[in-house]
Symmetry: C2
């Protein structure tokens, strides 16, 4: 900047203001400064700017980890949206550890980020470290794994709605005895998915039978065991709604192992739209979690908060509508079923995934 000022014989003030389009700089001077800046390929030092202004163009993200399908996709959405708004993102992993989560927040604070996006670690039961952010006026938005309550800003998937539409879909396909492979109920997402399942049963006038609900940690092996038990019962289920795709996968495998057919004997629906759900035989009906939309929505909300700049802002909770992806594991209408993996939705997903990992 000093170089530019010298060359034009003006002060650095003028340069700075010309570059930021300040009203007190004449159009002629602005042109000259801009041109010279291009010529020298001037890159402002963001640190200096942030230091002086007290606000950087960085958003902090704290996620439990960056693996699997969900979080990378959300981060992808966040980065894209942030980038469009002129922000960059700095990523921290809590590794499901509260202490690490706390450290990450401190780091982000001292990096002077403009705002923070958080998805809670599994071990977070105490939320005081977020109060610290609040007291310093740091904009904060939770996503997916949130602090419950209506005094926080948060973006989540409507898990209850997801459980509801999945179950209703199974009912529409003729299932009358639908089991539920549930996840850990202390997590809001699994609790809500179960509730949606119950809602659909009630709406259809089907009995709520606790013996049809099996609680698991939503891993394949436990789902296999769960399915074995369910099939061994006096009146086995004719449909299964699993609160996660690994649960659906395990169920599918056990049903096959016992020589039964999916979906004719047992229809199956999962949750999360894991990549593998379009690859199994049959492909698995599931719920898309709108990962990218979640990231984008979270950024939008955060940017609003940042722009509010400390002024009173009514906290908002955004719930995204889940999308039911109907695939072959649940469709008992033969004309659709026979399309197998060629199902449009499945195809689209496979292509997208292929594109994504093509050059890796």
């Amino acid at each position: 900047m000093a170089d530019l000022a010298r060359e034009l014989g003006v002060s650095m003030t003028t340069i700075s203001r010309a570059l930021s389009d300040h009203y007190s700089i004449g159009p002629a001077m602005k042109q000259k400064v801009l041109k010279l800046a291009k010529k020298y390929n001037y890159q402002p030092n963001r640190l200096a700017s942030a230091l002086r202004k007290g606000k950087s163009q960085l958003l902090g993200i704290v996620v439990p980890y960056i693996e699997g399908r969900f979080f990378p996709s959300v981060v992808h959405g966040i980065e894209s949206a942030a980038s469009k708004a002129g922000y960059n993102v700095i990523i921290c992993q809590s590794n499901e550890d509260v202490a690490q989560e706390r450290r990450n927040l401190d780091i982000l604070l001292s990096a002077q980020v403009a705002g923070v996006l958080v998805s809670l670690s599994r071990t977070t039961r105490d939320f005081r470290h977020f109060e610290k952010l609040r007291s310093r006026g740091m904009p904060l938005v939770f996503f997916d794994r949130i602090v419950e309550g209506d005094n926080v800003n948060a973006v989540v998937l409507d898990d209850q709605e997801g459980g509801y539409v999945s179950t209703r879909h199974l009912i529409e396909q003729g299932c009358r005895r639908i089991a539920h492979i549930a996840g850990p109920q202390h997590l809001n997402i699994y609790k809500n998915r179960r509730q949606g399942y119950l809602d659909a049963l009630r709406e259809a006038g089907l009995p709520e039978d606790e013996s049809l609900i099996v609680y698991t940690d939503m891993i394949q092996s436990q789902a296999i065991d769960a399915m074995r038990d369910l099939l061994a019962s006096p009146i086995p289920p004719d449909g299964v709604f699993a609160a996660g795709d690994y649960g659906a996968l395990g169920a599918l495998q056990e049903v096959h192992r016992q020589g039964l057919r999916v979906p004719q004997d047992v229809a199956i629906a999962g949750f999360s739209n894991e990549t593998f759900t379009v690859v199994t035989e049959p492909s698995i009906t599931t719920i898309d979690q709108r990962c990218e939309e979640m990231g984008q929505a979270a950024v939008r909300l955060l940017l609003e908060l940042i722009e509010a700049d400390g002024r009173p802002f009514a906290p908002r909770q955004v719930a995204l509508r889940p999308e039911l992806l109907v695939r072959n594991s649940s469709v008992r209408n033969s004309s659709v079923r026979n399309s197998l993996v060629r199902h449009p939705e499945g195809e689209r997903l496979v292509e997208a995934a292929a594109k994504a990992s093509k050059l890796a």
Copy 2:
């Protein structure tokens, strides 16, 4: 800091030096400063520090995107390793666009990152923007998709070795006519995998038959077509090495569609260890790309560069050994084959993936 100085009746110099363990500060004073810093929960302003020192504790990452299995895992490895060394990472996506890649580098420069990790966009053919980094003395390490040559620092998977061990494995399983579903040859990774395939054939004294190599964009649909053509030839192959898992998946589906058995009639091996490879029936033999190790190795190299601090540093290329994961799509030994998805390696992977996406 000013507060601490005032409270202790010393200068900010003393505080700063006590905190950074400078030799000219007495041990008694250091203790006092440290204690007071704890008490007030003092967080240094990293911006100010970075501005003054000209070096931040940030590493920049430029990847084509954050999706699929590969890049998120590498980023995971990078973040973990960086975090351990006291660095944070700022992530940029090029979206496979050179222009965006260039912009990202500028942004990282102006953010005063300590170093940059890059995996090239697919459209990058001109490397001048990296010269700019070099001229400013910015430490730079490529990973996976690299600028070829021995004057760059880079970490890659040894793709040729991967192609070699896969193919040799198929040969060991009794395959004598092994086809290759290849990827775009302008990409070093696919070129090298093909070369490894040829190496193994030559070593085993098997003929190199161009009619057995089909070039695709490594997407499922093209692999299906490729496999159909291969099976329609006068002497169909008894083994297939696909340079990517989506290729292997397509091949598997087509073989099944024609009523042939895998691996008895056609053994199949893929590449990349996509999540779905343990879920298909049979599970697919593939190559693990050591994603996390790649990230860690890249960070190690970058930190060395940063510590060299401009002093001459002999550029280094690190090639990671690929790991062959033998699964049921290629094993013609029945005792192993019958273990199906219960194969130890497969199980481990599924569990890991389940854990990773469990709460998403």
